[in-house]
């Protein structure tokens, strides 16, 4: 375990003291799991970068809600399914795909699919599908905590609710900043560069997680 610590410290996991605390709890613990879910989302740069990509060009609140609901639906299905059915997916492998989802969204944002492939997967479908992968990532983090079986469902639901609260908090900030930025004249030019950087960050995340998958 010690040899893996430096990697775990850097990877986006539920950290040592938090993990030991909830593992020491017996029975239902609604608030601690809710808090952990919210914290995981608010401090989760992989999920946050993806959300930035998703809402980058969404101007109407209605669209923000629609896209984020699809993402939420996707990640809730696999978070709960993964935990309940005890899917044993490799966390690094899933986190690699989550990194690629960031790059995908940025590529979509600069209209890459139509310019290069002349075809584009429905953006809403893509958000739902990548939501499923993000949920699998959440499930692996929750499974690391070796939940006690008797209150598994309630704790998992609490975690999921916490994730949505954290997501709402993060989104409010992201949407507010993007809204201010969008009003500036330079937005169109900077938007292209910003999505290029976002794509690069997605590649870096994917490369980092895939290296961890290969070598740890």
């Amino acid at each position: 375990m010690l040899t893996l610590m430096p990697i775990f410290a850097f990877a986006h996991n539920i950290s040592g003291a938090n993990a030991r605390f909830v593992e020491g709890l017996d029975g239902p613990a609604v608030i601690p799991y809710m808090y952990l879910g919210a914290k995981h989302m608010v401090t989760g740069y992989d999920h946050l970068l993806y959300l930035v990509g998703v809402v980058f060009f969404l101007q109407r609140l209605k669209d923000v809600i629609l896209y984020v609901s699809l993402f939420t639906l996707g990640h809730s299905i696999t978070l709960m399914g993964g935990v309940l059915l005890e899917w044993n997916v490799n966390a690094y492998f899933i986190d690699t795909i989550i990194g690629l989802s960031v790059a995908y969204k940025a590529f979509e944002n600069i209209n890459g699919f139509k310019q290069i492939f002349g075809f584009q997967l429905n953006a809403r479908a893509a958000v739902l599908i990548f939501g499923l992968f993000h949920g699998l990532g959440l499930a692996t983090k929750l499974q690391d905590l070796s939940l006690s079986a008797d209150s598994l469902v309630i704790n998992m639901l609490s975690f999921n609710v916490g994730v949505e609260i954290g997501q709402a908090i993060a989104l409010a900030c992201i949407v507010a900043v993007l809204g201010l930025w969008r009003r500036r004249n330079s937005f169109q030019k900077q938007a292209f560069a910003a999505n290029t950087v976002l794509m690069s960050l997605g590649f870096i995340l994917a490369g980092f997680q895939f290296s961890a998958y290969l070598w740890t």
Partner: protein, 197 residues
């Protein structure tokens, strides 16, 4: 299929700009990964740049454990002794420990008759072999027991002085384990050296 146009402002891009963006994103990611992340996090340094920047093996567990583990060639020893001290008698008992070697210890002082705890004066200290006449006190005072770990701060002999200032005979019982090689007992003006097996 094409719902995106209805939801979002689409950037006016061209094939060339998109290809350039992908290329730039990919090159930036590749540079960050090979120069920083792979050497620092995974100790893989394909270009040797991590070594040049001094970040190779930043997260290697070996670097951490080197501070926490001190390797010893020889076997460790265990020792248990007890001394009876009449009123106003004293004794000193020490171990040869080289710098950085460690020892676990625990001693108790009890009345020789009856076995109740009985305080003695003690001074846990070391005498250096490196600097002539240098002594350092680790723990001193009055008490009927003490236990702990010593990591020898210098090459020398390290141990206890116990004195009975009470009116009754006291028995001091010491047990230790550690990477020492010999013990020395100073009592009544004599030194008794003992190689420990």
């Amino acid at each position: 299929m094409n719902s995106k146009t209805s939801d979002a402002v689409v950037l006016q891009t061209s094939k060339g700009r998109v290809l350039l963006a992908v290329l730039l994103a990919f090159i930036l990611a590749a540079v960050v990964l090979t120069v920083f992340i792979l050497p620092a996090e995974f100790n893989r340094d394909p270009l040797g740049l991590g070594e040049a920047l001094g970040i190779s093996g930043l997260s290697q567990p070996a670097a951490i454990s080197a501070e926490k583990v001190r390797k010893e060639e020889g076997a460790f020893h265990q020792d248990g002794v007890s001394f009876q001290l009449l009123p106003f008698e004293f004794v000193e008992y020490k171990y040869q420990l080289s710098k950085g070697s460690s020892m676990l210890y625990r001693w108790t002082a009890t009345k020789s008759r009856g076995g109740d705890a009985s305080a003695v004066s003690f001074d846990f200290h070391g005498e250096s072999h490196e600097v002539e006449g240098y002594e350092e006190s680790y723990s001193e005072g009055e008490g009927d027991h003490e236990g702990g770990t010593l990591i020898a701060p210098f090459d020398g002999i390290h141990g206890w002085f116990w004195a009975n200032h009470g009116a009754e005979a006291v028995t001091v019982t010491l047990s230790t384990t550690g990477f020492y090689t010999e013990s020395l007992e100073f009592r009544d003006g004599f030194v008794k050296k003992q190689m420990l097996k």
